[in-house]
Amino acid sequence: MTASRTERRKIVSLSGVRKAFGNRVVLPGLDLDIYRGEFVTLLGPSGCGKTTILRLIGGFESPDAGSILLDGEDIAALDPSQRPVNTVFQSYALFPHMSVFDNVAYGLRAERRPEEEIERRVGDMLRMVQLEELARRKPDQLSGGQQQRVAIARALVKGPRLLLLDEPLSALDYKLRKQMQNELKRMQRELGITFLFITHDQEEALSMSDRVVVLRDGVIEQSGTPRDVYESPANLFVARFVGEINVLDVRVIAQLEGGRLLAEIEGKQREFDAGQHRFAPGTRLHALLRPEDMRLLPADDGSALPGEVVERNYKGMMLETLIRLDSGRQLQACEFFDESDPDFDYLLGERVGVSWVPGWEVLLADEGA
């Protein structure tokens, strides 16, 4: 993308950061680098430590061990007011006694900027979030989406080196959230400010970020582009947390030529693409398959796994089918409607064969999970 992106200059660098609240260790020792101009999302279930990471960078918590560098300078000892970092709070935290203008101007007034400059910069920022007409309103006279924009404008007006966003869209309804996602991406592109975004919504994480960092219990499970994380999950946790997934047990029979693998899956022998991995015969693996990669075939297809349809959910542009294999395992399949196929739908209890696009499965070593 831009030059600054290709330079990959670290803006924030956390190393060995440990944080515990009482006996509860939230971050056992975190290493995380964020590069200039990136849109990074921390994704994880509640309690995974993502908010704590944000609060450590913002200065509202101090680490028990480890260092937090901002542009190479250790900021662990700095008060939040001294850090060139601003936060969009989950609850917005707008000052209820101040107008929209005064809320946005707050940070500039704290810097004792001249009043004309404040006027101009706040005006620019309000124009950017399309709230010029509401500058004199109080927060409680605004809708949720408008309050959200004020919170973003207030945090961005100081031109922070890093913007921290703590689940800022979680209180908005679906349509508004979609719209704000696009606006946030636009602002991030236009201003070139690095965004560190927190969410527990995997769809939001995938659609907005340059990089997704998946966290569990304060440990980074995977860090990569949305596509990496979705298509090549590093482990079962990531696979299950990011999107829907089917997990099947696989036993290796033999390693074949060209990175291919012959293995037994649900009583059938199939070839898999093992990539550069080599597995000894008898190794137990997991095959991960996204529902949209599954294909439903007639029941008599020899290579497919036999089963019967137990549930069908109409989803508008696709049909979600739940199949119980003869082994008892349930699989989910998602198929786009094909206008030209009149027999696309299935009946409950109908016998089908389940297959998938060869090579689209992900093989993971059995973690005993």
Binding site: F60, N86, T87
Partner: protein, 288 residues
Amino acid sequence: MRGREPFRIAVLLLIWGWIVLFVLLPNLLVVATSFLTRDDSRFISWQLTLDNYLRLVDPDYLGVFGHSFYMALVTTLLCLLVGYPFAYLLSRLRPSLKPYLLFLVIVPFWTNSLVRTYAMKLLISVNGLLNKLLLTLGWIDTPLRMLYSEGAVIAGLFYILLPFMILPLYAVFEQLRPELLEASRDLGAGRWRSFTRVVLPLTLPGIIAGSLLVLLPAVGMFYVADVLGGAKNLLIGNVIKSQFLDARDWPFGAAASLLLTVAMAVLLYAYYLSVNMIRRPDNDAELA
């Protein structure tokens, strides 16, 4: 809906009947009495006059009123200085501890304040516990004369009225969301600026409510001045009480109490205006 109509009327009648009988009527009697003349045998005689109000303008009485307001103001300031940080700390305590400490704030209400005033007298009298303690510790050689002074009255008022300051302040601090302070610091404001720009304005309704709850009773609690103050430290409440009970001059007492009522009404109106101003400083601009 129709079946509810009689019930609605009954409730409204009950409320209005109560207000008329126990609030409006007694106050009208006081107002009426204040314009009548004193009579030794029947307390009042039906002669209209403004004399009672003219007598209030007497420098002696004005002096008592002024001194009473001064002591009430000092009491209010002391309550605010102690109550504000107290309420703040109370609101920041662990949720499991809060009920106990709130309970401790409220417990004194269970004992009649007159009884507590006498207890205070025992504590600070010349032979009282406080003097004995100080003598035993060797901090003083002769007992201090603390009773029957301005300080004793203020201390008594402070002690009795402090909870009335703490409770409304606690209520506003409970509503003050901690993330507002975090937002303030995040935006570059230091502690002092965060306090003056965010905490103070948002707790102002509590400050004003608490101040009124302390100031208004503090000019009327005559028994505190009776027990602790001696002859020189009278409250407006003492003047009114002595006119009704000792001097048997009901019209003059009524005039004095009406003056106090009017002063309180003015203060309450000022409170109403100030709270409205905090909530909506530029309402007009928005409507324009």
